[in-house]
């Protein structure tokens, strides 16, 4: 792959992507596309974005060789791209800053967003506080329970958090409500979508804002090792941290790209979020992509211990990279992720987000099958503080069940 110029002018990545939204939103989406094109060519826009990323977010983030984890895996060296060290604790802020600056350019002072784990909601609320924008966040009722602390954070930052009880009351339903809200308030409101999904230009724009992860990784890795890494590993819900770290490496054929989905209780159960592994192409939330759905085209509920991966679709560009075999996609179960959550905490003193723990689990397996001279970079997309409570509950439940001799 010498050149890679996707998407095309209609926002299509091969058969995937596009703009499948109600007509009410078309004007806003076409305007956003135009404004983004203008901003891309505007030196001042980049200067301001880069200044905030450096001074406010704390970029660039370290590329850390996790020697203990590498030794444990027994094979390739595992590097961690420390997106967990960003302000607000995850990669989500890279995109939130870019889009919020774009909203200000368009004269839109109101922001609506969806959130699953709450990381994107916190990042959005943070940037809105910084830039003095009104902020309303839709979050599934179920996720609000799982991530109570993040809800309080958003409110502390001045955002209004709206609980969504329809459907599975998770990320998918929060996106539905955020879209409905946007339809009704499109004149003065920007939808700050948190992942590489939704209608064009969102998948491209979010990828571009997140590709700072891959750019830094590439430069730093070459500087230190004089070569490219052999593999990149990242977890995938919608797929923004993965697209961000993959994108600058797509043309480098020697670098294998691995996306890690949530297998929940197992991909052969009905309780997983493995859209690429088990889904088929379909249209949801503005985009043609791999989707968990039944034979009648009704969207199925996704399940994962990690609220951030709990989504039945996956970005259109990942759908394309899967079909073109440029990237490979695997799934990691709740139990494996929990184990890696503890493993990284003990071995490296780094508590990862449950989302990122999926990537760690896969990277350990992968490293053990590779040579000691080879190198893997894992995108450690977020820190695990938000998950400590849920993990504690789950571990205590596990112990209880053990003592009763029950097999889960």
């Amino acid at each position: 792959m010498k050149t890679y110029t996707l998407p095309n002018e209609k926002g299509h990545f091969g058969m995937f992507g596009g703009r499948f939204v109600p007509e009410t939103l078309m004007k806003a989406i076409l305007e956003l596309e135009q404004e983004y094109e203008n901003a891309k060519k505007d030196f001042n826009f980049h200067t301001e974005k880069d200044r905030l990323l450096k001074e406010y977010v704390g970029r660039e983030t370290p590329l850390y060789l996790a020697e203990n984890l590498s030794k444990y895996a027994g094979g390739a060296n595992i590097y961690l791209k420390r997106e967990d060290l960003n302000h607000t604790g995850a990669h989500k802020i890279n995109n939130a800053i870019g889009q919020a600056l774009l909203a200000v350019r368009m004269g839109k002072r109101k922001i609506v967003a969806e959130t699953g784990a709450g990381q994107h909601g916190v990042a959005t609320a943070t940037v809105c506080a910084l830039l003095n924008l009104d902020c309303i966040i839709f979050m599934g009722e179920e996720d609000i329970k799982r991530q109570a602390l993040n809800v309080f954070r958003m409110e502390l930052l001045g955002a209004t958090v709206v609980s969504v009880s329809s459907g599975s009351a998770t990320l998918k339903d929060a996106v539905n409500e955020a879209l409905r809200y946007w339809v009704a308030n499109v004149d003065d409101t920007h939808y700050l979508l948190g992942s590489v999904m939704g209608p064009h230009p969102f998948p491209t724009m979010v990828r571009d804002f997140q590709s700072v992860i891959g750019k830094e990784t590439k430069e730093e890795f070459i500087l230190r090792n004089g070569c490219l890494p052999d593999a990149i590993v990242a977890c995938i819900g919608g797929g923004s941290n993965a697209m961000g770290i993959f994108y600058p490496f797509i043309k480098d054929k020697s670098v294998s790209l691995y996306g890690v989905e949530a297998a929940g209780q197992g991909i052969d159960t009905n309780f997983h979020a493995a859209s690429l592994t088990k889904g088929k192409p379909g249209v949801l939330h503005g985009s043609l992509m791999y989707l968990l759905q039944n034979d009648d085209g009704q969207i199925q509920e996704a399940h994962s211990i990690s609220a951030g991966l709990d989504y039945p679709g996956v970005g259109p560009e990942h759908s394309y990279l899967k079909d073109s075999s440029r990237a490979k996609y695997y799934a990691i179960t709740d139990d494996e992720a929990l184990e890696s959550f503890q493993l990284l905490s003990r071995l490296e003193g780094i508590i990862p987000a449950l989302e990122s723990a999926h990537a760690i689990a896969f990277a350990v397996k992968l490293a053990s099958e590779m040579e000691e001279t080879q190198n893997i970079v894992v995108c450690l997309s977020g820190r695990g503080d938000k998950d400590v409570d849920a993990v504690k509950t789950r571990m205590e439940k596990g112990k209880e069940n053990e003592s009763f001799g029950t097999i889960l």
Binding site: V183, D187, Q293, Q298
Partner: protein
Amino acid sequence: MNRLEQSFELLNENDGKAFVPYLMAGDGGLECLVDRLLLLEKFGATAIEVGVPFSDPVADGPIIQNAGIRALKSRTTLKGIITELAKARELVTIPIILMTYLNPIYAYGIGAFVQDIQNAGVDGCIIPDLPIEEEDMLVPQLAEAQIELIRLVTPATPLERIKQIAGRGKGFLYMVTVKGITGTRNLFQHDLNQFLRAVKELSPIPVLAGFGISSQEQINELTKYCDGVVVGSRIVELFEKNNLSEMEILMSIFNKNHK
């Protein structure tokens, strides 16, 4: 000329206005669909919009969302709906328009879908998440089968784009009266009339207003500026409450005016 064009021509000759009710297929059980269609025809419907339930209806408000949930709970499928519509076609003479989000069609297979709805005598489709930018995936097949794609314009659509959208269709133009989702409303934006007039002027095909329409007063006001109305949430609500007399009164509006 298909049934839709014929209906509107007839309406035009009689100087009448169109009343297009919407119902959710499978709400109350799929077995009552044919009877409900016959009832709506008897009450004076110009055409009927038949909704296909979808798990994630982003353009719909609570009333239609909940009707969709009820329909899905009673295991309604697109295939089942098409089978019932084929039966209905032998009894119902007015046009039938299928209103569905894109994914159920995509999962069905576009070729098979068009063939099956053609055989079932469906006259048109409304697909709220298929803007003109993406319609090439479906429109050539529909055109071949002489099935109209009914396109939507909204108060957020610029005039130039309204012209472009209106120029593509042969059935009617669906003019959304609000920036928002479906559902009954008491008040419309104060500058709505101006928008309706502009759309009517730009459109070479009949213009029907829809979204948020629930009363005869609203209908009388809106049809000063357009060729008819689509009434969704209110009809769905009345079916659910089994308040058929209220439905008959609401739908008799043009019979009184134009007999």
